[in-house]
Each structure stands twice: as structure tokens, then as C-alpha cells.
Subunit: 226 residues, 2 copies
């Protein structure tokens, strides 16, 4: 059976609305602070209010929108406080994921991770920031997946979604993500060699460094939310 078949492949309007809205939010097409009443979203998506409502409930659980009565569904901006909270959580979760992946990650999984890292290097040479961002994101998700802990993976991916836009603006302002590639390689190598403590520690400080960079940049630019 195909590995991606585990997730139910039914196509319902709720899933459709959820995916579309989530994509639009993460891409910035629906900017932070944007808000609209349910009927507007429903007509725009070409469906009734109910499926939209259920999709919005899921997006609220994901921490991407805020549902305030009489004020419409609002796309949540990400404050510096939010970023601090999320990065600190991600630091320990990704450390756990990297540590747990030791001895569990299959050769194919490691190969795929290395492939993504190669793609990131290539994008970096080409000065293609967008492509690099995608590779960076995929790397972190692959490590989370390699842990074999389904809940851990889901938690990490949820938080990665929440900080996705913040990473985008960071990238656009900060030209080159310097030490990232070295950290990533070190994590993969540690996983391959079964050094779980080392993998966890590198992953942890990697994320905390990211937090420091993000904080510096936001403070430098005087931004309190994204």
C-alpha cells in the first residue's frame, strides 16, 4: 500500500476549505490581521457557512486564526512573545525528535534528508532564498517525521506552521542564514552515528540560535508582530 494512504483520502468540503484557507494564510495571501465574517468566506470559497465554520474551528485549534464573536474570523499575527514561546517549545521538541530518530531513522529517510540538504546548499549557491526556505522547512519536518513519534511530529509541524510566516520575513530581511547548513549536517550525522545526545543538543541550540537571531532582527527593525 502506498505510504501516504494512511491519511484518509476522502475529499470533503470541510477539508477543502481547511486546506485552502491554511495555504492562503501561510502564503501571506490572507495577511495577519485580516478578518472577515463567515458568509464572506463561504461565498468566496463557493460553499455554505457550515463547512467553513468547521474548517475555521480547526484553524483556531491550530493557532492560526482567532474566532471572536461579532468581529469575524481574524488571521492571527505573530507577536515577539509568541515567537519566544514557540521557539522555546520547538527547541525541546526538536531535540527530542532528533534524539529519538537515532537508531530509528531508516536509510531511506536519512537519504531523503541529505537530499533536501543538498537542495538547500544548491539553492544557497543560486541565491534562491525562497527555495532555500522550503528546503529548510522540509528538513525540520523530515527530522520530526524520522522520530517515529506520531504525536511529536504533529506537534512540531503545527508549531512550524505557526512560525512559517515569521521565518519568511526573517529571510527577506536577513540575507544569508549563515551557520544553518553546518548545524543541519551535524544533526544528520549525529543521527546516522546513533549519537542521540549529540543530535538532541545540536538540534536544541540550533533552534535557540534561531530564536536569538529572530529576536535581534525584530528588535532591530522595531517590529513587535508579523
Amino acid at each position: 500500500m502506498h505510504p501516504a494512504m494512511s491519511t484518509k483520502a476522502r475529499s470533503t468540503r470541510v477539508d477543502n476549505a481547511y486546506e485552502r484557507l491554511k495555504t492562503e494564510i501561510l502564503s501571506g495571501q490572507l495577511p495577519p490581521g485580516f478578518q472577515a465574517p463567515e458568509p464572506d468566506i463561504a461565498t468566496r470559497l463557493g460553499m455554505s457557512r457550515t463547512p467553513v465554520r468547521e474548517a475555521l474551528i480547526r484553524l483556531e485549534a491550530d493557532g492560526l486564526v482567532d474566532l471572536v464573536p461579532r468581529r469575524g474570523a481574524k488571521v492571527l499575527p505573530i507577536s515577539r512573545q509568541d515567537i519566544c514561546e514557540i521557539y522555546q517549545i520547538l527547541a525541546v521538541l526538536e531535540a527530542l525528535a532528533a534524539g529519538t530518530a537515532c537508531g530509528k531513522a531508516s536509510d531511506e529517510a536519512l537519504a531523503e534528508i541529505n537530499c533536501v540538504l543538498d537542495g538547500a546548499d544548491e539553492a544557497l549557491e543560486d541565491q534562491d532564498i525562497e527555495a532555500w526556505a522550503i528546503c529548510d522547512d522540509r528538513f525540520h519536518r523530515l527530522v520530526a517525521r524520522a522520530s517515529g513519534n506520531l504525536r511529536l511530529r504533529a506537534e512540531i509541524e503545527g508549531f512550524l506552521d505557526q512560525v512559517y510566516r515569521a521565518n519568511l520575513v526573517l529571510l527577506r530581511l536577513n540575507k544569508a542564514p549563515a551557520s544553518n547548513a553546518a548545524d543541519h549536517r551535524a544533526i544528520v550525522e549525529a543521527i546516522r552515528e546513533g549519537k542521540s545526545d549529540a543530535a538532541a543538543e545540536v538540534a536544541r541550540v540550533h533552534r535557540l540560535n534561531g530564536l536569538a537571531r529572530m529576536n535581534d532582527l525584530l528588535q532591530h527593525c522595531g517590529l513587535n508582530h508579523v
Copy 2:
């Protein structure tokens, strides 16, 4: 403004259904494996299907029920695999919470935690397992709250809900939770003294020891899910 007014105090049918169903699931009134179609639940709660539906979506996001089309909403049992996954995540999250609480926890918060610990000791002397379980649960939630990280608290509380029933059966089988009180006191003391590393480490091994005990007990009893 009243401090507790931040959380919207509206009383809607969805929230009502969510709270009632969650309470019934956690208390075991709706046992694991129980499943019912939406109309039955709706009539039992005295409301229409739609609010029940939205409540069930939230419960599914919480990992408490599974919504399979044509088979009704099913109360999820907790497998040993689930417990392993959750406890490993809780170990790092609660370690982060305990470490972060250092220097942040107010004196009142620490006093409340100590009060709960006193209650736990008292319940232990009285052989009141139920009361002790409540104190134990509240202790962990208070530490999570003391971290000041709202997301961290929400994550921890969500996982505590998921393993709540497993803890109950563990308690009923295993008479006395031996080293628990000492660990708890040690965590509070470390937080009070600002020793964040120590607090984190004690919290971490405390949770991992809990996992080991749970694993032993389940294996001993031949139980694969609760």
C-alpha cells in the same frame, strides 16, 4: 478589569457539549471504545446535531475521540504505544516548564503548589487514592501554568488529559505512588531557589520514571490499551 476575563466567558451550546463530553470521557463514564452516532449524542445532550458536531471536532483535535464516517464518534482507547509517545513528550515539555518557571513563578503560585502538595500528603496518609490523584494532576498543571508560557501550558494540559484515564487505572492497580512526593517537593524547591537546570532535570526523570512504572505495570497485567 477582572484577570479571569481574558478567556471568553460566553456560554454556548458547543462549549457546553464539549465540556460535558470531555468530563464524561475523562471520568470513564464514556468508556474507551464506546461509540455512538451523532444523533444519539445530540438527543442525549438535548440539542441539535450541529453543536455536537463542532464539539466532537474539538475533541478529535484533543486526541480524545476518533470520528470515522458511518461508524460514529468513538472514544479512543490509549495504547501502550500512545502512552510511550505522550510520556516522552511530556518529559521534555514539563522539564521546560519547570525550568522556565524559575524566576517567573510568583510567591502566590509557589504557595498554591505547596498547598496542593500538602493536600497530596494528607490524602496519602488517609489512603484516599482518588484525592491523591487529583492533587497529583493539579500539581503538574500548576507547574505548567507557572512557566508563564501559555502555549506550553496548553500543550501539557492537553497531554495530561489524554493520559488521565491511564493514570487512574495505574493508581487502582498500584497501591502507593512511592517516590512521587519527594520528586514534587524537589521540583518546587529547585524552582524557588532558581535552579532551573535542576528543576528541569528532576521534572524530566520524574516523568520518565512514571513511564517506566506504567510500562512495567501494563506489561505485568498484559494490557495493551486502556
